[in-house]
Symmetry: C2
Subunit: 305 residues, 2 copies
């Protein structure tokens, strides 16, 4: 009974962060600019606060300029919009991330739409999504971090994507849909399944590459997989586990125990996609900073050309 | 040997145009506004000229204000951009269409990008594509006409889309990609196949709904279809036909003779998707005009509420 090779997200993310750090050093040396990442957090959800701490630490380690805006739960939408507007005009900030979810008394879509497209570190702007889905036009300034992380995992594990069948389980704006667009751009033949899909297990069995982003603990079973399939598990779900002090355990959207006996390669949870998301955020912000530098230098280039 | 029911695009398009005309009458009566459609044509390609004539006739018949801008083949890109800029600020024009292809000495992407998103009658703007692909956010101001036409054909033929498997053959920006997004938004489970896909016939056989937009004459064969599948043929290809005076004949991307023996419903070529494209263009422009009217009326509404 062969076991799948584990795709080590921690290791790949560390490598990616190292590459980003090197580019930051170069950007500082050549242009005197450090990529600036601003994180806006509203309220004091534990999970959000922890995630923001991790982002800040990773940004600082990579040599970024890091800005934190923490607003109380009781803030008005106008106050959050104000904070975003200030960051939009702050020339030291190249990427802005508003930590979701926002308190329920504000409109997330409106707040996200207020972020300048040039500083859309999360790649959530409709304009960027359009550019992602269109072939052959302008590149988006950024693409959603978790999907980009999934593709990095595949490519850095030497998984061939072109010509393969990929099934994406889930079609959310922040994971499933952009993952599907990225896989298709890499010439996979992509099927997207969702809550209205019948016979999901049969469709998953057609796939050479399965990306699970469904938000249901251990949803995809080993018995659904084509032998040798590559599995990327985006899920982060807690299930009860009496053997743990916390009483719970983090699991993915894939049933790892059974899937790892059928797949050829698989990402674990934790330690798979999770670490890639922050690494991709840094890379996105680096790119935005590089784009800002090249915009600033453009008039000069034009005159001299 | 049962034959597929023919989906009559001419009849459905006529019905759609009639509905548009009724809405135009209403818009004129209540707001004194006729939807304005501007078509920009550069050069004198025969096919483009004929298509533009058909658009103009349909627009006039539906009660539209119709503007034609015909520029010589020798025009510069700057002249075309100028024409678009003038139409952008013309309050009588609600939809602008630049007939493609443009002469090779100009950049199509740049010209299309110059059209105001509010007047993007073809739904080609990246912002509109992004809104199409994102779930639950703002509606796009328009969606590409041929894809919208395909969906109208399915819905007006009472084809159930939700929960069905759909295969889209082709992934172009103007047909395949937006058709796939529309089908997925209607809760189909969509697979997009393209030139890098292996085993296309096997994938097509999984589909309850097949949309062929591949640009290859009679590409999809009856033997590829699941019995009872619904087939939408977007293709417009000419093949040699000695029995015709013109020496050629228009055929689709589906081999109609064999497919119509396996499918339950099928669109013919000509008389299927073709007539729907212009009807959808009129509907798009009507919607843009309605949106412009409601934007113009907004301050008033705000003050009085
Ligand atoms: N590791 C990381 O950094 C990140 C991890 N995540 C994790 O990834 C997972 C997905 O996140 P997200 O995309 O935001 O989740 P959403 O809840 O936004 O989307 C879930 C998707 O799965 C589909 N779905 C839900 N239930 C079923 C079902 N029973 N059968 C088939 N499809 C179903 C939904 O379909 P429909 O559209 O029809 O409702 C929807 O498209 C979660 O576990 C989340 O915690 C998310 C972001 C980052
Ligand atoms: N009735 C109407 O109003 C309209 C009709 N049309 C017609 O629709 C058809 C498609 O148009 P359009 O989308 O613009 O065409 P494009 O040439 O832009 O796109 C064709 C698509 O088909 C794919 N493809 C090409 N050859 C193969 C093959 N052998 N196997 C699998 N996939 C293949 C291409 O794949 P890849 O991406 O990998 O290159 C591409 O995605 C044409 O016949 C066109 O005339 C178009 C617009 C309007």
């Amino acid at each position: 009974n062969k076991r799948a090779q584990i795709i080590d997200g921690k290791k790949i993310a560390a490598q990616l962060r190292k590459e980003v750090k090197e580019s930051v050093t170069l950007l500082k040396a050549t242009h005197g600019v450090a990529p600036g990442l601003a994180v806006v957090i509203v309220g004091d959800r534990q999970d959000s606060a922890q995630y923001v701490r991790m982002k800040r630490r990773a940004a600082t380690e990579a040599g970024f300029h890091s800005v934190d805006v923490a607003l109380p739960e009781s803030s008005t939408e106008a106050e959050v919009l104000d904070a975003v507007a200030r960051l939009n005009t702050d020339s030291k900030v190249h990427g802005i991330l508003v930590q979701l979810p926002l308190p329920s008394h504000m409109n997330e879509g409106r707040v996200l739409a207020a972020i300048s497209v040039d500083k859309d570190a999360d790649g959530f702007a409709a304009l960027n999504v359009g550019k992602l889905c269109l072939r052959g036009g302008e590149e988006p300034s950024a693409v959603a971090c978790t999907p980009v992380g999934c593709l990095e995992l595949l490519e850095r594990s030497n998984v061939v994507i072109a010509g393969k069948r990929a099934v994406v389980v889930g079609r959310s704006n922040i994971v499933g849909m952009p993952v599907a667009a990225l896989l298709q751009a890499k010439d996979a033949t992509v099927t997207v399944v969702h809550s209205k899909t019948k016979n999901i297990s049969k469709i998953v069995r057609e796939a050479d590459i399965v990306v699970a982003a469904v938000g249901q603990a251990q949803f995809v079973k080993g018995s659904w997989l084509k032998p040798g399939a590559v599995v990327v598990d985006v899920g982060t779900n807690f299930i009860p586990d009496a053997s743990r002090k916390s009483g719970r355990r983090l699991v993915g959207d894939v049933d790892f125990a059974s899937a790892s006996r059928v797949a050829s390669k698989i990402t674990p949870v934790p330690g798979g996609v999770g670490p890639m998301t922050i690494a991709s955020l840094l890379k996105n912000t680096l790119r935005l900073a590089e784009a800002a530098v090249s915009r600033d230098n453009k008039p000069l280039t034009r005159v001299s050309s």
